[in-house]
């Protein structure tokens, strides 16, 4: 089992956060892989939604992005932003929203807009549906690389609010439940019920606490006993490798 990729652990950890009958807004990449994995195992009735207006796609070729027709394949519905982001997300029926992040801080605030280097601003993709998902989904899952410069004490720009300044979602006038889990290639991070600040949930197998702390730029609450993130099961690995991403486009190459 020592050839298991970190991405496979992340995908399985993501899948475990999804329940049967959940309505999920998915992003491309590992979130989509996690979603397909959940749907092929314990959550067959999960509804996967893409912001552009696609429901329950089953692509057979690998798309390069949300605008790639490959991801429209075998969907059960094509609509648009107003349907997915409006009449589902804004309506309050989206259980889980998956997001990526350029930077994330201790309160789960996400930046996807800009970075500041020595006062110079560099722009990136902006929000698209990210802020909407972060504002309105019942729980938000983030999948990102575990790097000190990405997990920061403060983000350069709050594109998508988590628990801003440690405030409750009610205080922030936001309906959605906010960030629930951050799944990285080293660990799973959650948020304290009282503090609403980042808290270590589990370390991936073979990853030491010192490694995680050395690569985390934000305060991280660490429990006495730290659980180990479960490895993907044999069945999950087979699905990931043979059916969901056989070419390793999102999971990377097998060593």
């Amino acid at each position: 089992m020592d050839d298991i990729r970190a991405t496979e652990i992340m995908a399985a950890a993501g899948a475990r956060e999804l329940h049967d009958n959940d309505t999920v807004i998915v992003g491309l990449g590992l979130p989509q892989v996690a979603c397909f994995l959940a749907k092929s195992t314990h959550a067959p009735n999960l509804a996967a939604l893409l912001e552009i207006g696609v429901i329950n796609m089953r692509p057979k070729d690998t798309p390069v992005g949300l605008a790639d027709s490959r991801i429209f394949y075998r969907a059960t519905c094509w609509s648009g932003f107003l349907d997915i982001m409006g009449m589902n997300l804004h309506r309050g029926v989206v259980d889980v929203g998956f997001l990526g992040a350029l930077e994330l801080d201790r309160y789960g605030n996400i930046n996807t807009t800009l970075l500041k280097d020595d006062g110079k601003v560099r722009y990136f993709n902006g929000s698209a549906g990210g802020n909407d998902v972060a504002s309105l989904a019942k729980r938000v899952l983030v999948i990102m690389r575990h790097e000190k410069r990405k997990l920061r004490a403060a983000v350069a720009h709050i594109t998508s609010p988590g628990f801003v300044d440690g405030k409750t979602r009610e205080q922030l006038a936001l309906r959605g439940g906010g960030p629930h889990r951050v799944i990285t290639d080293k660990a799973v991070i959650g948020f304290g019920v009282e503090t609403r600040s980042a808290k270590l949930i589990s370390l991936h197998p073979g990853i030491g606490l010192d490694d995680v702390l050395a690569n985390t730029g934000m305060p991280l609450e660490v429990p006495e006993d730290i659980p180990v993130t479960p490895l993907p099961s044999r069945d999950e690995l087979r699905l990931l490798r043979e059916e969901i991403d056989p070419q390793g486009v999102y999971l990377g190459k097998l060593s």
């Binding site: 893409l50 912001e51 552009i52 207006g53 696609v54 070729d61 390069v64 992005g65 949300l66 605008a67 790639d68 027709s69 490959r70 429209f72 394949y73 094509w78 609509s79 648009g80 932003f81 107003l82 982001m85 409006g86 997300l89 804004h90 996807t112 807009t113 110079k120 601003v121 560099r122 722009y123 990136f124 993709n125 902006g126 929000s127 698209a128 549906g129 990210g130 802020n131 909407d132 504002s135 309105l136 720009h157 709050i158 594109t159 998508s160 609010p161 801003v164 405030k167 922030l172 006038a173 936001l174 309906r175």
Partner: protein, 300 residues
């Protein structure tokens, strides 16, 4: 029945400098390339551009120096890269950019399409997107309010009414009854919010054909100002069920846009070509482009 088929050059001549044009593309899908190229060829200036998730169409217009104000929810060229021309113009402050989100921009168009002057929303609150809007030229387009019924806090967005919305569609008749195959992002509300709708259609069919399946009509003809027939009109971006994006051409574009300017690219592919057909010839010609043709069962 009114025949609204026109050339893109003819339509573009009616767009004044400073107009607000809304673009119907999304990243690298169904971009209104034929329309954008002609706006650039005719040297339009000071345009306001709005778009849910901006793509190559907006990046080209900004790269050509045609845009002074941008209203977008986000944008990228998917895996091919960022909107380098847009980002560079923002960094150089030669462009006034107002950032929203996919949903908030859809809501602004929806309000416009419904004839409402504003619309309440529950996203953007407590974010720096909103803080930046409130500190910018957009401050007058966002207001806070409590619901008079429940007391809940809302953000109010001013309706967005573009002067013209360009939409690339797979099929239309000569009156402008248009079908959009596949997902439609904010096409419908954007088009219906606009004062004028210009369709760029891959294929023109008879009205009898439209009448056989009227449930597929997304934009009805009576709202449409002009229909431009332009096969491969979205090239190098993808049109579902028609053709795939051209990865090589997108890479070629990014090789220019990432390096600091697209003047050379524009000289070869836009200023150096007299119309869209000529541009397609410059890109290898329609016979060569058949390699991108979508398989009927896949749609790409």
């Amino acid at each position: 029945m009114a025949d609204k088929v026109k050339s893109i050059a003819e339509v573009t001549r009616t767009i004044p400098d400073g107009a607000h044009v809304a673009l119907g593309g999304f990243a690298i899908a169904r971009n209104v390339i034929a329309a954008v190229h002609e706006l650039i060829r005719q040297g339009k200036r000071n345009l306001t551009v709005s778009q849910g998730v901006a793509g190559l169409d907006t990046d080209l217009l900004v790269g050509a120096g045609a845009v002074s104000r941008l209203i977008i929810g986000g944008g990228s060229l998917d895996r091919f890269g960022l909107l380098y021309c847009v980002n560079r113009a923002r960094e150089a402050k030669t462009l006034r950019a107002e950032d929203y989100t996919s949903l908030s921009l859809s809501f602004r168009y929806l309000a416009g399409a419904l004839g409402l002057s504003f619309i309440p929303i529950k996203s953007l609150l407590s974010s720096e997107i909103l803080e930046r809007l409130e500190a910018s030229s957009a401050a007058d387009d966002v207001k806070h309010m409590r619901c008079p019924f429940t007391g809940e806090e809302y953000l109010l967005l001013r309706a967005l009414v573009p002067d013209v919305s360009y939409v690339h569609v797979q099929i239309a008749d000569r009156e402008g009854n248009a079908r959009i195959d596949g997902p439609r992002w904010e096409n419908e509300e954007q088009a219906k919010a606009a004062r004028r709708i210009v369709l760029i259609a891959e294929e023109i069919v008879s009205t009898e054909e439209i009448q056989r399946e009227p449930e597929r009509t997304i934009i009805p003809g009576h709202r449409v100002d002009a229909v431009v027939h332009e096969p491969f009109g979205a090239y190098p971006t993808a049109v579902f069920r028609r053709y795939d994006y051209d990865a090589e051409h997108l890479q070629l574009y990014v090789a220019h846009s990432k390096q600091g300017g697209i003047e050379d690219y524009l000289r070869t592919y836009v200023y150096g070509t007299k119309d869209h057909r000529d541009y397609l010839e410059q890109c290898g010609g329609t016979v060569c482009l058949q390699r991108l043709q979508a398989a009927p069962d896949l749609g790409y």
